[in-house]
Symmetry: C2
Subunit: 421 residues, 2 copies
């Protein structure tokens, strides 16, 4: 079964990200299905229409994302109607929904354009949008050129993630689940502290072994700024055999990579650290310099982080390093802000002022400016303070400002995790 | 001319983002070209091969991204060789480059797998990778099925953004620039403080006017968490007429949206705030609660932000709100941490402890927990303190935790911008 996603809009043109494709891809992967392709096209009519036609031809389930908004460049509904040869009608109950949505939020700017969002294909099932004005639509059809009279399904989903995601979960996911016949299980093991090639060399024997057998096994290794993910899937018809193979692979990889493994599946360094801190009833404070809030942002991405996260002192200036964290003037003068000694005093200072159980500090040169011969771009010091001791670590990261900050944040969070294990 | 990008890898399967497509799309847009399609496929051989074949057939310039790494699921080079019917050879100078790269970074984990990265198509030009081990490749070819004997070009680029981007800038961009004949200019105007439909209604007369004339004018409106972008492009053959039309559109939109416009093109709220602070020689300190470091992270995304950014007190706990920012216990007891009064004292406290010229505070309920009847999910208070006064603002944002944090951050940064204009 071929499933295809078409995202229309201007992400490509303005250099913005498309977070929806990853969401839908991940959801499908989790239920043992897979996107055959994700097509990103502009919202220009001719481009979008060509891609939609092709997808309606070659795929069984087609999901479009975006272009359901109120403005003139939102052309998904009319294009879908044309491609399928289906008429549109103005759905009064949808129009009422939209008006209610505006009233509830006390938005006065209901315009003529918003009425367009109540245009529905005559053969469509309306998918109510609880988080916005544009309803989704589900259309079952037989493509006119189809020899086999195959029943196909087209979903039109809104673009904004907070509208698309709940709608996908409520309407599309259950529909797709009913299609899976082969059992497929998959897992992602997250590691930190080792390089990509090194991880592959270590787990090579597992990969070579696992591919023999009755099940279909697939492996993949993916690096994201100091985090290396190992993904594997096992598919077949015998669930017990699949579980056994999954268990064996996991057992062997765990034996090889040990505490370099920080989590599985949806786990992130942030969620794992949160779990450990909650379990050990410990609280955390940060003192960030070059990462500038990135670690705090990641820690607070986790809902409920206020249970263990006291806060972060982002001491970008030396003045704040001294004033709040108590870093000594002599330390800054003698060793500089980017030094093991400063990282030490930052961690210690954050621990003390916040009365936390553990504190993490980061100071470094993220660039592009600020580097010197003896302190090159990417030099980062990390400090971890507990009531017993303060440890510091030195790293040299490569990459641009964004990469160095991301690597520094992930590496620091992994050291923090190891310290509270 | 059709330009197509194929990204292979596992982003779709694990729910990760593909930042490269946006980068390449934005670059092309800037030089007046456009991606006809971006295809995301898995790194499974059959899927990737099918998409590559299709792209080689239908497009003139094909760019692949990813799959040049050292591991077994990196199949781009061999697949491209097969599709084009070209042999591979092991390039010794590339191999030397890879070994030097490892030595320079004192990485000892050079493995047999890394040698694979020196496999080059016989007809390819090697694109040196200054930021990683995998070289890119540029292959000119005539597709075997081509009736018209058209010369086409295939670029193989590495997946990691810090490797792909400089390589694209150095080799691909100049090559593509030589292709543009029609002159196309484009601009993006960034606004904040108004809703998407409202922005469109306001600029409707400009859109209606601009489409009459000799130039081809395109408009688009795009919303990202409290930031609304207006993009427009003008293309034609007469550069002076194009510049005139561009200038007219800009002038009219500026007249309509006034100070809601915060920037153009690559400007971000962060970069604009940075520019204003530098210009006015003012310094900034933040006091963040529900945004948890997100604003500090955005402010420090800008290189050189240490010139005006003193730091941020992320006072997630009430203890730190009191201890560092001097929020009064009575204020927290009487009005709660999410209140106008607390936002007021946080901003004032951040201003005083950091000795900054301006301070911004945010406290709110990002959820999913913590909401109550009188304090619903999405309620956010923002405070702005200067040496003269402290102002506070109340907002009710909709969305999930991530969306509320993003909207709160952008809205707060826009208020900050207006305060220092």
């Amino acid at each position: 079964m071929r499933i295809e996603l078409i995202c229309s809009g201007t992400e490509l043109l303005t250099g913005k990200l498309n977070t929806n494709a990853g969401y839908i891809g991940g959801k499908l992967y989790d239920i043992g299905l897979e996107l055959s392709a994700v097509i990103d096209v502009s919202d220009r009519k001719s481009e979008f229409e060509a891609e939609l036609k092709r997808a309606l031809d070659r795929s069984d389930i087609i999901i479009t994302n975006g272009g359901l908004g109120p403005t003139f460049d939102d052309i998904t509904v009319e294009t879908a109607a044309q491609c399928l040869g289906v008429e549109l009608y103005r759905d009064e109950s949808v129009l009422d929904d939209i008006k209610t949505f505006f009233q509830k939020r006390k938005i006065k700017s209901f315009t003529k354009n918003n009425e367009k969002q109540a245009n529905i294909l005559k053969t469509a099932v309306v998918l109510r949008n609880k988080n916005g004005t544009a309803p989704g639509q589900m259309i079952h059809f037989q493509h006119k050129d189809s020899q086999k009279k195959l029943r196909k399904t087209l979903f039109l989903l809104p673009g904004p993630p907070r509208e698309m995601r709940p709608m996908f979960d409520e309407f599309v996911e259950p529909f797709l689940k009913s299609y899976t016949s082969v059992i497929k299980k998959n897992e992602i093991i997250h590691t930190a502290g080792l390089g990509e090639s090194f991880v592959e060399d270590l787990i090579k024997p597992v990969i070579d072994n696992a591919t023999f057998g009755n099940n279909n096994v697939e492996f993949g290794i993916l690096a994201h700024s100091a985090v290396i993910d190992i993904k594997y899937s096992v598919s077949g018809l015998d669930e017990i055999a699949i579980d056994q193979t999954m268990g064996n692979i996991r057992y062997e990889i765990e034996n090889l990579l040990k505490e370099n493994i920080f989590g599985y599946g949806k786990d992130t360094l942030s969620s794992v650290i949160g779990g450990l801190l909650k379990e050990k009833k410990k609280t955390l404070c940060l003192a960030e310099s070059c990462t500038g809030g990135l670690i705090a942002k990641k820690i607070t991405d986790a809902a409920g982080s206020s249970a263990y996260f006291n806060g972060s002192i982002i001491s970008y200036s030396n003045f704040l390093k001294m004033k709040i964290l108590g870093v000594k003037k002599e330390t800054l003068d003698t060793f500089g802000a980017v030094s093991s000694q400063t990282a030490y005093e930052m961690a210690k200072g954050a621990l003390e002022i916040s009365n936390s159980d553990i504190a993490l500090s980061v100071t470094g040169i993220a660039g592009p400016g600020g580097a010197a011969k003896e302190k090159p771009l990417g030099l980062v010091y990390i400090g971890i303070a507990s009531k017993k001791s303060v440890e510091t670590y030195e790293y040299n990261f490569i990459g641009n400002r964004e990469e160095i900050r991301e690597r520094a944040a992930n590496t620091a969070m992994n050291l923090l995790r190891l310290a509270i294990l």
